[in-house]
Symmetry: C2
Subunit: 142 residues, 2 copies
């Protein structure tokens, strides 16, 4: 029932970018220094966020990462879904169809289904913007 370090770091990266980016690309080294996280480890995490389209990276000098949307358009849930895979508390809820033999007689299935919805709704309701010290007025265009 733990949120992985990956997930926690991913959220911190997103908040950091939301607070410091003015539309330009921010090198990962800057984020790693501010957040006191190993740059090499962050690399793996950030690459997940890029692959999922939450960030874009640019190589070379003046390169780095930037958000693809404004901070109010990201939820904590969006990020955790990428790093944690999904919010299914049990394996049988990971796929659309439940392929567990015992599903029809399972007395706890509803407990897990309702729980999954609870978790999803909670994390979906928290925006990255709400976790920054910013005022919600972005003076840059994405």
């Amino acid at each position: 029932m733990k949120i992985s370090t990956r997930g926690r770091y991913a959220i911190r990266v997103m908040i950091d970018l939301a607070e410091h980016a003015q539309g330009e690309y921010i090198p990962l080294a800057d984020i790693a220094r501010r957040q006191e996280i190993s740059e090499k480890y962050l690399e793996a995490i950030v690459s997940m966020l890029v692959k999922a389209g939450l960030l874009v990276g640019l190589r070379g000098k003046k390169g780095g990462y930037r958000l693809t949307k404004t901070p109010d358009q990201y939820s904590v849930g969006d990020i955790l879904k990428i790093t944690e895979g999904n919010f299914a508390p049990v394996a049988c809820l990971e796929d659309e169809i439940n392929s567990c033999d015992r599903a029809s007689e399972c007395k706890t299935l509803k407990v897990w289904e309702d729980f999954q919805k609870l978790v999803n709704d909670y994390f979906s309701s928290i925006t990255i913007e709400s976790l920054t010290g910013n005022d919600g007025c972005y003076d840059y265009v994405i």
Copy 2:
């Protein structure tokens, strides 16, 4: 973010006992057979429940396990707290006092605190009795 097999099995054991026990001791072999779970694996799980006082075991012939309370007095949360340790989604919330250096400046601490409460409240609200096919009238005395 997964509930362990231990936790799921523990809940099934408790439901099984709530449905089948009439005050007498139920051998683990019976539960293992009904639930189609390895008896040896269940042993380790059930011993946790005994140590925590949710069940009592009796050795020897006519031995087995029985509940220490009526099914409506157990919540799913009571059981999961034992098998999962706690509901802290991050390590810094496991102890009473938060010993994380970054706690004072942590932008996500409240997210995790509120989440922990949400999870705790949810699982605490579900009784084992509500997961059985019983009517809530116990014809045995504990």
